[in-house]
């Protein structure tokens, strides 16, 4: 149940070494301030699930050696090119890669949300994505006539980590249209949220705001982190910092440059 966090580090206590953390895609509110705090703390061996894709966040965490396993459908810096630390870690075998496809990650979390052991999904059959996923099964649908279909086991992360525009003092978090953030929280054991600001009053009291609210019932801690998605965008609030992302892409192209990036923007806390 919700407790107000004293600090960002305090809020992140739930993200322990070796735990399974689910994080959202770039346009849904990526907790980058929290990501930098985790790197500073030196979190290790994460099973990182990026729903369903990631960009800078996964690349940073991988480069900083925080990740043991990555489960996602794609990591890319988009218009700024490939994700260099991700590509390097996969080709060197430094991380275990669990390649997925976007709707499979959504469905697996929805299975946990609904308390069922699996969810079916069309597609996948005949792909190498399926071939390399021993944890996925194929059955003959009992509603068809020789109709194979993939079943995905429910995914229950230890922690859902997300960034949102605002929360109130009851732990209610306004997520707007990014409803997969609610599914993440429903599926995860514990949910940690950073927000731009605290909303006065109770978000659930206003039917219009309530429609876009993740109830505090599912939230363990909330910390304020202004511009907490920087340098990534927060939809309807601020755009990506293209200049910074281009700088990241340049620096992270080499291990040395990446180390310098960490020194400059993560450890020194000069960010934002």
């Amino acid at each position: 149940m919700f407790q107000a966090a004293k600090s960002l580090d305090d809020a992140l206590a739930a993200v322990t070494d070796g735990c399974m953390v689910v994080v959202p895609r770039e346009v849904s509110g990526v907790p980058m301030a929290a990501t930098r705090a985790l790197i500073r703390r030196g979190v290790k061996r994460l099973h990182l699930v990026a729903l369903p894709t990631s960009s800078l966040q996964a690349d940073l965490l991988i480069g900083a050696a925080c990740v043991a396993t990555l489960e996602t459908s794609a990591v890319s810096l988009g218009e700024f090119g490939p994700a260099p630390r991700f590509a390097a870690a996969v080709t060197s075998g430094a991380i275990k890669m669990m390649d997925a496809t976007c709707p499979a990650l959504h469905a697996a979390l929805q299975a946990a949300e609904k308390g069922v052991p699996f969810m079916p999904l069309r597609g996948l059959i005949g792909s190498d994505v399926l071939k390399y996923r021993d944890d996925w099964k194929v059955i003959d649908s009992p509603f068809g006539n020789c109709d194979p279909i993939v079943l995905l086991p429910a995914m229950k992360p230890d922690v859902a980590l997300l960034h949102a525009p605002m929360a109130d003092r009851f732990g209610n978090v306004w997520i707007g249209r990014q409803r997969e953030l609610a599914t993440m929280a429903h599926a995860a054991d514990r949910t940690v949220v950073t927000v731009e600001k605290i909303h006065d009053g109770n978000l659930l009291d206003d039917p219009v705001l309530a429609a876009g609210t993740l109830p505090g019932f599912y939230v363990e801690s909330v910390a304020v982190a202004e511009r907490g998605a920087w340098p990534l965008p927060l939809p309807d609030h601020y755009a990506a910092d293209a200049e910074h992302l281009a700088e990241y892409a340049r620096m992270a192209a080499t291990a040395e440059g990446f180390a310098e990036y960490l020194d400059r923007y993560v450890y020194e806390r000069r960010a934002a």
Partner: protein, 253 residues
Amino acid sequence: MSMNAAPLEFRSEELLADVIARLIGDVRHVAVGNASPIPATAALLARERGKGRPYVSLLGSPKNTFWTDGARELFDCAGQGRIDVFFLSGGQIDGQGNVNLVSTGDYEHPKVRFPGSFGSAYLYYVVPKVILFRVEHSRRTLVPHVDFISAPGVSEQNVFRPGGPIALVTNRCLFSFAGGRFTLASVHPGHTVEEVIENTGFDFDRLATVPETPAPSPATLALLRETAAPQLAEVYPQFARQVFGVGQAALSS
């Protein structure tokens, strides 16, 4: 990829958009993935020609998408049969229509790692018309067999598959796809069949005489430049400026 070699009154991007708009045909809903300005241009052109039909969703553009059910809604929408056309690309594409968005070499010890399969392992199966689009037409991208099948071009008869590839558009030509094979449908102006054969890593069918891809008509060019381009500029400002000249009603060249 520039068309400067030939004295044409249109740009390569305009030709490709025209080709893709014809492939889209008369459908209800075209969705275009992130960072796909040429397919987006084609979808907007098709919508102008159809006077509002098809409905066009440009992913990654809040103004041009209606999603309010989170990141899953695109896939749910496709699963409901409400997306008729989608676009896919690949680090590698092979002659069976398999696409590879994952890696080259051995999967466990890859030589080159690409971003990942995204939604391809699903959308390729359920969207009726998937148009493969890869500007770079080379033996590096068009291979005999992909190293990793993110999504297969064809499936066994008993696999649920209302969708799949209908065509592959490159900077050199248009291939149609049927029965598990590509057929060279037309070669773009300024390119040749020999050049296509030379630069394609997979086997494909062709008629004795391969037609030239029709150049965009003056009416199409006007529609592209005067009506589609300004709409595109909202989503792809750099592309719109570079190809069409931002805010300009017509192209100067």
